[in-house]
Symmetry: C2
């Protein structure tokens, strides 16, 4: 029992076919200590004291590797660029993690009252929406045919 973080990390890497490197271990350890939603630059700053020669590009690559392996996830799956919603009617969205396409989903209204109850005092809620993420029909079809090529 009492598995150390390092042992847990090594096990995860074996499962996901990721080489266990010192940089990856340090990044993973720092991530597990964080309870907010850092960007790559902030992760970089956190690991630099222990890895003075690490490159920001390595942090990016490592984060992507961790996301692909399911060790962490990404709160902002949009493609880096601003996306407009021209239509006013409230609805939910399906976001494709591969092609970043956004599909409208007709849903019943979420229980806004219950959600707002969990929001800290002083916060002003303006919009509430449900987001589904995964692989869209087109991308799923492509994977399928690629897998059978």
């Amino acid at each position: 029992m009492g598995e150390t973080l390092e042992q847990a990390f090594q096990k995860l890497c074996r499962e996901k076919n990721l080489a266990v490197t010192h940089q990856r271990l340090v990044i993973y350890r720092e991530l597990m200590k964080m309870h907010d939603h850092p960007n790559p630059e902030q992760v970089y700053e956190r690991v630099r004291p222990e890895l003075p020669s690490i490159s920001l590009a390595t942090v990016y690559k490592t984060l992507h590797a961790f996301v692909a392996a399911g060790l962490i996830c990404q709160v902002s799956p949009h493609h880096g660029s601003m996306r407009i919603e021209p239509q006013g009617e409230p609805h939910s969205h399906f976001i494709c993690l591969r092609c970043h396409d956004i599909t409208d989903i007709a849903t019943g209204d979420p229980d806004v009252a219950a959600l707002k109850a969990g929001v800290p005092a002083g916060y002003q809620v303006e919009q509430v929406s449900t987001e589904l993420r995964g692989i869209c029909g087109r991308c799923a079809a492509e994977s399928f045919s690629a897998g059978h090529a």
Copy 2:
């Protein structure tokens, strides 16, 4: 009756203190025709046939003005940079539209079954989460004190 789109747009602009310009009208008209979730570049391409000399920067500024005025909204509250979720437990997020801070919100599980029912066939749902957007406590406090300075 039969208010034209142009008349509706002019009325909206009056209400929001936006000057009615030809560029803004054309952008608004194209947006209202769109049922997807375009990025600024795509809006630019759509209006160029009618406004051959428009600048991409103008499209950006106009979209921001429309968002600020509430004519349209933004699906990706422009986190600008990748944001990591190191913690695995499912929870919801409050996203501040001003400072882009992301706050965890403890909520009951959404009705995943009902949501999945609205997803087109062939789509693979991997994650479901609720997103609340608005102004966080800190930013709200700042606005308040600014308003009373």
